[in-house]
């Protein structure tokens, strides 16, 4: 009987981390699909003058729409609140940053911090310019002060960057929870 319980415990651990990986993958997909749609919000007036700029308010409205369509997440202030059939169960806080027409060739390092009221960009550091497009780095600091480095991304045009933070309670109360920052970068579509 003890052996059985022991194996069940191991099984729980494995299932728990398995589920966390799946949730992360799905959240990444949702953000990417929403961001893809959001980057269609190009300023039509500037476009006639040959300048490609994003209308941020419209872009975020489009983002919200796709989060709702594809994942059942509703936008409440600075977070996406899941519905009953969403993949995660806790609200996902997020922050967005637009890299414009002038800046997308420069490297960019974003410092995002988790605060009580949501995520905040503390600092955005520009780096040297590259002809092919800048590299985006994100350093994420959790509420408990833990610093997480996210995998660098390439920008290939003016881009909308969205950093989201997934905090999931574990499967069973005695396991540690999961805290996963996710970043999505999409170039403006025109």
């Amino acid at each position: 009987m003890t052996m059985l319980l022991f194996f069940l415990l191991i099984g729980l651990f494995v299932t728990d981390s398995d589920l966390a990986v799946q949730k992360k993958a799905e959240m990444k997909a949702l953000l990417e699909l929403a961001n893809h749609h959001a980057t269609f919000a190009v300023d039509q007036e500037l476009k006639t003058e040959g300048i490609i700029e994003l209308t941020e308010a419209e872009a975020m409205a489009k983002f919200d729409q796709r989060m709702l369509d594809n994942g059942g997440y509703e936008r409440v202030e600075d977070a996406y609140v899941p519905s009953a059939n969403s993949v995660t169960s806790a609200p996902v806080s997020f922050v967005h940053y637009y890299v414009g027409f002038q800046d997308w060739r420069k490297d960019l390092h974003l410092f995002v911090r988790q605060r009580q009221e949501g995520l905040a960009i503390e600092k955005a550091e520009d780096g040297p310019e590259r002809t092919a497009g800048g590299e985006l780095r994100v350093t994420f600091t959790t509420a408990s002060g833990e610093e997480l480095q996210l995998a660098p991304k390439k920008m290939v045009g003016p881009s909308l960057v969205v950093v989201a933070f997934l905090e999931e309670p574990p499967l069973v109360p005695f396991l540690p929870g999961h805290a996963i920052p996710i970043v999505s970068v999409e170039e403006v579509k025109w």
Partner: protein
């Protein structure tokens, strides 16, 4: 008498729990695969568009076939039901820039035991996407 009941109960627990866990695991895995596949398919349609609905459907089917063959999916193609429809269209025929579509994928419940009939519901995923191809690229 008490001992007999305890034995029967523990045998039932010993049987049900592992079978239930394995069944749940299979469902979670299938769902994850379907999520992944539908995401890849939406991206494929977004980046390719098409000259007509028939063409889009055909290339999507070919893409799914390729995905299933090249990756180690448990999913079977003949079990997969696929529907693609446009929700916003600029042109009658062309599926091009800024058109929106929904993709619906359905597969039967991956049943491995008859013990849990109430779980037996097909797995369905619906995704919405936007096409990013210009008319002149088609």
């Amino acid at each position: 008498m008490g001992q007999l009941i305890t034995t029967i109960l523990s045998v039932i627990v010993l049987l049900f729990v592992p079978v239930g866990i394995v069944q749940l695991h299979i469902v979670a895995q299938m769902r994850a695969e379907l999520h992944e596949l539908s995401f890849a398919t939406v991206k494929f349609i977004s980046n390719h568009g098409g000259r007509s609905e028939a063409e889009v459907l055909e290339s999507t089917r070919a893409f799914i076939e390729m995905e299933l063959a090249s990756k180690r999916y448990e999913l079977k193609e003949d079990e997969l039901k696929l529907a693609v429809s446009r929700t916003k269209a600029a042109d009658e025929q062309l599926w091009s820039h800024e058109d929106e579509f929904t993709l619906r994928m359905e597969m039967p419940f991956p049943r491995m035991t008859e013990l849990f009939p109430e779980w037996d519901k097909p797995i369905v995923i619906v995704r919405t996407g936007t096409i990013n191809v210009m008319d002149y690229d088609l």
